[in-house]
Assembly symmetry: C2
Homo-oligomer: 331 residues x 2
DNA sequence: AAAGAGCTTGCTACCGGTAGCAAGCGCCGC
DNA sequence: GCGGCGCTTGCTACCGGTAGCAAGCTCTTT
């Protein structure tokens, strides 16, 4: 396992200077066809390819984009990651996947991403406090930040989200039309802003119908178990007559937990005894086992948009894109 | 947004040479406490942190590990990615997530990873042909390769897998004990080696009971839909009397598709009319809606092992780790 | 034939670190 | 008072590219 060949070595083999070698690998550079052929032949023989590390150091461009994720429980992350990596790779970028957790928090991750000179950071669905950035860090040339699939709580940091206002308007309008009158909301983790947005508009549009949303459940995190636990305790302490007749869950994973508790633990019928809605449209939400009414985020449009901002093809400012209500049997 | 401070600038501010600045940031370097304090104070003021790109170029060590993934349909990828990123980050490494697809194949991905000088490449559950590496690429100092959660088909490339032999021994022994006698196997994509291993041992251990596995279904990929479609066509063309009495699916996602078709489309009882098993133990496999009997891969042990190989704390050679049979109600 | 335009090539300087040599310095013992 | 040891510091050279200037060359134009 010998070391990689360098431009200098190729130059020696081809009988030119190393700068001519570089030019053979630089599109649009000034070089004769003859020289280029000789260099490429030598490069082929020596198995030379340019060292991108050295290039990045010199150009101050790594073509690497850091993606921060702090919640791997929601399967919805996977199709997003697939689309993000595919789109960025198509644009010649590569994803650095950073797991934000208690050992490796936002500050440390940002510092690391900056030291590695990434071209941009995408905060994918991860909560981010204002204080974090006040950590005297934003001051010096941090890479540009973008928030994906969650609202940006920070002035000047653009976000690309599913339009919660349109989504909840459609949802509430559908539910009100169906005759539901006692709505409840289940949020994942209270502090997060997306929860606030969805919850906010849910309450807002019910308010237009003269109905207030007084029941707010909160799950510990975004997982089946958390959704199941939250609804289980609600049903345990609330007599049937006082229960809500429709439950809007912040996402599908929570909704699935809620559905299983309703059907299996309490033997209730959905949607007759209680209707349930989710948000995301996971593959498994469409199965007969769940058949969950939900709202599909415009995944590809969101990813395309944030990638365009990263590459500079689109002005970087907060954008909300409309998704689609998916009617199934739970509401 | 000014540029990052460099060691040279900090040196000027602290009144020392840039090498002394470097030493203040190098653990164990020879420097007086006095100098270190002055340098760190200046660095703090200028918000200096070492540029890891430049360091990588000089040391030939990037502390970046490329992870190749070519199938984002299986939710099982997510907990693995979570553990992988967390463990590698704890070891001071960072994950470069590469999406292998038709636009960006293994050869291109390897070339790119090599040009970026990653310290290692982890092929996570991705199929890899011998020819790919014969692409006159392995010759020159490619980063070391490791295969995770799939067998290595290539001599000299270590793999970290769940022990299929033990797993299928336990599974078949359980099924035979329960009285099943007409086993069938559903594979995801025929060419992949893990499928071959699991299928191989499934047939092997049934053979010990004098029973041969003649029914082999194959799904187009690893998704709920593919599993559902495959079983649907089987049930459609096979009269009840000739059907298998237990179906082993290569993973949980396929098994879920199969379960929904059995129960919802054909109104059959599980496990009375046909038992079903999966492999992976997804979070949703444990829900009342599925309650799937499955086999849990030793996720953390596998991740710890491959990370130890990457960091050099463990000899790099193929390892199979035993998992655990999870008995639920489908078998 | 001379001059100028335009392409090609090599060069210096630089990106921001690391490695390891050698000089400077303080301190000790003899 | 001098030699020697050991720590600290600065230095040169280098990692493998990029940027942009300037010299060399060809070819055209007058």
């Amino acid at each position: 396992m010998s070391k990689r060949a360098t431009a200098r070595e190729v130059a020696a083999a081809a009988g030119v200077s190393k700068w001519t070698v570089i030019r053979a690998f630089t599109p649009g550079a000034s070089i004769t066809e003859e020289s280029r052929r000789r260099v490429l032949a030598a490069a082929e023989a020596l198995n030379y390819t340019p060292n991108l590390l050295a290039r990045s150091l010199a150009t101050n461009l790594t073509h690497q984009v850091a993606v921060f994720v702090d919640d791997f429980a929601n399967p919805q992350k996977l199709p997003f990651l697939e689309a993000l990596t595919a789109r960025l790779q198509a644009e010649g970028r590569v994803v650095m996947l950073i797991n934000i957790n208690t050992q490796f928090d936002h500050v440390r991750a940002l510092l690391n991403a900056d030291q590695r000179q990434v071209d941009a950071v995408i905060l994918f669905g991860t909560a981010f406090r204002d204080e974090t950035l006040r950590d005297r860090k934003l001051s010096k040339g941090m890479p540009p930040l973008f928030v994906l699939a969650r609202d940006s709580q920070i002035e000047g940091i653009p976000a690309v989200v599913c339009d919660a206002q349109l989504a909840l308007r459609d949802i509430v309008s559908h539910l009100a039309g169906k005759g539901y009158r006692r709505p409840g909301f289940m949020a994942g983790a209270q502090v997060l802003s997306t929860a606030l947005q969805r919850k906010h508009y849910f309450a807002h549009f019910w308010g237009r119908h003269g109905i207030s949303v007084s029941t707010e459940l909160s799950a510990d995190d975004y997982s089946w178990k958390a959704g199941a636990t939250a609804l289980h305790s609600y049903l345990s302490i609330t007599p049937p007559a006082e229960r809500i007749d429709v439950l809007m869950c912040e996402n599908d994973i929570l909704a699935m937990g809620a559905l299983d508790v309703l059907r299996s633990d309490f033997g209730l019928r959905v949607p007759e005894d209680m209707a349930v809605l989710g948000f995301d449209n996971l593959e498994l939400s469409g199965t007969p086992a769940y058949s969950l009414t939900t709202y599909e985020q415009p995944l590809h449009a969101m990813v395309d948009t944030v990638v365009a901002m990263v590459t500079g093809d689109l002005e970087s400012k907060t954008v909300a894109i409309s998704g689609q209500l998916i009617l199934r049997s739970t509401a």
